[in-house]
Amino acid sequence: MTAVAELARPTVTGLTGTTSLLRLAARRDRVLVPVSALGLAGFVAMSAQATFALFPDLRSAQASMAPTLANPALVAMYGPISSLGIDSIATFKSVLLGGVFLALLAYVVVRRHTRTEEESGRFELLGAGVVGRRAALTAAVLLGTLAVLLTVVLTVALSIAVGLDAAGSIALGVSWLVIGLSWVGVTAVAAQLTSSTRGTAAWSLGALAIAFLLRAVGDTAAGDSPGRFLSWLSPLGWGVKVSPFGDNRYWLVVLGLALYSVLVALAFSLLERRDLGSGVLPSRAGRDRGTMGTAGALTRRLARGTLVGWGVAYVVLGLALGSIAGSVETFVGSPEVADMLRAMGGDAGSITDIYFATELHFAAVGASALAIALVTRMHTEETTTRAEAVLATPVRRARWALGHVGLAVLASAGVVLVGAVVAGLVHGADAGDVGGAVGRLVGAALSTLPAVWVALAAAMLLYGALPRLTGLAWAALIVFLLLGEFGDLLDLPEWLVDLSPFAHLPALPGGAFEWTPLVALTVVAAVVGGAGIAALRRRDIG
């Protein structure tokens, strides 16, 4: 009788086994979580220290930074500066960027232990044991929350340790807590809505992109415009509005906790409404016949959803870039500032040009992410043994790989061009020269592509030669991005900064066009990518 009672009880809470699942999950993430937390905390501390070293006295910092920090291009990327104190300047770039990385960490942790597990069927193995219905989601949410808390505590501690103001450091922690917890909740819900890992990724990363754009538009809107309200619709906006080292609005933590509670509760109520392995959104019946007849057609078809998503994202990005451009000149009126920005951007032309050149380079980094995602799909195909099914037909490996590489080349060029054309149309309509604006931006966008190809080729080489390390392609892209962002600030040696292909791009529009670096990047990409395909042809598959 007692045995029956003990067996019956767990079904009431559905939480039986949560601790063992949590321990298992924590064990699987024992490297990822601590390393990411330390990395993010270190990133704040190191860039703060570097800023202190760069500006020994506050006045020089204010004089040189203040106008730059008001530049809408920078506000769109990093949010408005909290104050003109040295602490605020020292953390200007890390608050929002670090918050986004923390949101990504929360997303990765929660997704890994919910939808990914379920899709791979490993859950059934566990679910058949004594594990309650809610245990897995509870364990994933707890681990995600712990990862966020660990990062926040480490960051606050390290910030205070390197000499940042204690009250502001705690506010920075609050800002990240709001952002991190929000994406624990967003991912928990996304994992219930869709029945695939990729669907979960689309929902939670899509939400992140939308949140970023909402606050970018809101933060750059003119002071009295109703558009400023948009930032309040975005958890990333809340994180910025905490204003660490400025107003230190601790109370905003309430918004973060409220959203977190609502989303987690929603995730659990969705969990009650669905079967294991499925999502709330139903999987519909499809066509009984296919039209694809080549490996390339199959590759394109499998990437369709991704391509549409990125296309839409870049249209929105182009709209945002183009509409912000109009206010750039008014923000930065004085000729001294213009001179300084010109000095920063090399021999570039107008302030608007410098703005577009900076943003197009970011757009190119984004397009590289798309290219890497499309190339590394081959790795997913191989590890799931789906590649085998294709390679057991007369399709040669080189051809299969070229299909993926070709699609990545076209798609990354496509999104950058879409972004440039849209931005050009919007800005051109504003400035009264649509043709000119579109032409200049398209030309500038084209000039960024060789750097994208190098990132793409690096992914191909990793997959071809060292398939187990394919994921390093992402690490490489993040390093390229950080080198470009922080190379000067951290005073890194030039050869190190030059490792990034994006460091060699001419500053267009406005700057001088140079063939040499572009041709060199293209040659490097061709050689590296070719080596990757050659390596793939020689190795074992699977």
Partner: protein, 301 residues
């Protein structure tokens, strides 16, 4: 008789693990060849080398007269492969997968596609992620059988199929052979192999242990004889007969095993004791298989 597959002294290691350790395999054109061995014996590795997915460290493999590593394009037009654990693209329907794989192989045989979908009772409009394991297996089987090929490489193709579908599978494979096709069927469902295969190869730890027709293999093995006798027989007397072993006498019942060459002598002796009932069972494939493993593991240890 020509060979569809000829493998000689094939070796393949993964790191420190030796997957194939001098494997020989000979599959004649037009036969269904059973490829037996426990998990980890090297069956899948062999098939993946034959598909040109893996490169052998040494030894030779010839497939339909070509080199499986180099002649990928021409060879793969003439063969189809079904793995034991089929992974489908989650957002493509079964019908789309069947069509793209068959087209990549050179074209869809519409009549056969329709008939296979009907016989395997497959719903081709479902998305890959919503198929059960058995249904994923059916998608791969229909895809393989919907194009015009001469060789089927099947790696435990019926895992997950229900008994009805297993029967359909056996029928379909027999028809394929009747039409002149060759089949390499890796399996550890011994009854399936016993019913389907013309010849079998048994491998263990990457090496060939035995191959031949079932009759040949049986010949090498021992027959179990059970008899009920009118006049009791002395167990010791029976044991002295050449080729007889495992003698158990309980009252009028006697059980023993005997090599096929010595069966006649044994029956003569038993006949003298007034046989009232007699069964003589040739070894099943399962017994053969177990015996091969017992003897080789005894030899290796």
């Amino acid at each position: 008789m020509t060979s569809a597959i000829q493998v000689h002294d094939l070796r393949k290691t993964f790191g420190r693990t030796v997957a194939l350790d001098g494997l020989d395999l000979d599959v004649a054109s037009g036969e269904i060849h059973g490829f037996l061995g426990p998990n980890g014996a090297g069956k899948s590795t062999t098939i993946r080398i034959l598909l040109g997915l893996l490169r052998a460290d040494s030894g030779s493999a010839t497939l339909l007269g070509g080199d499986p590593w180099r002649d990928v394009e021409s060879l793969h037009r003439r063969l189809a492969y079904v793995p034991g654990d089929v992974a489908l693209w989650p957002n493509l329907t079964g019908g789309e997968v069947i069509d793209v794989l068959a087209r990549l192989r050179g074209g869809v045989d519409e009549r056969r596609r329709a008939s296979m979908i009907e016989r395997f009772d497959l719903d081709p409009t479902k998305k890959g992620r919503s198929y059960s394991k058995g249904n994923r297996q059916k998608v791969a089987l229909v895809a393989a059988l919907s194009s015009d090929v001469e060789l089927l490489l099947l790696d435990e193709p019926t895992s997950g199929l229900d008994p009805l579908m297993e029967a359909v599978f056996r029928e379909v494979v027999r028809e394929f052979r009747k039409a002149g096709g060759t089949v390499l069927l890796s399996s550890h469902i011994l009854s399936e192999v016993e019913q389907l295969c013309d010849r079998v190869s048994i491998i263990r730890e990457g090496r060939n242990v035995e191959s031949g027709t079932l009759t040949q293999l049986r010949h090498l093995s021992r027959t179990t004889v059970r008899a009920t006798l009118g006049d009791p027989v002395d167990a010791a007397q029976l044991s002295t007969l050449p080729g007889v072993a495992d003698v158990v006498v309980t009252g009028e019942h006697v059980t023993c095993t005997v090599g096929s060459d010595d069966l006649g002598r044994l029956l003569e002796v038993l006949g003298a004791h007034r046989i009232t009932a007699l069964t003589s069972a040739p070894p099943t494939l399962e017994e053969l298989f177990m015996e091969q493993y017992r003897t080789t593991s005894a030899a290796t240890s």
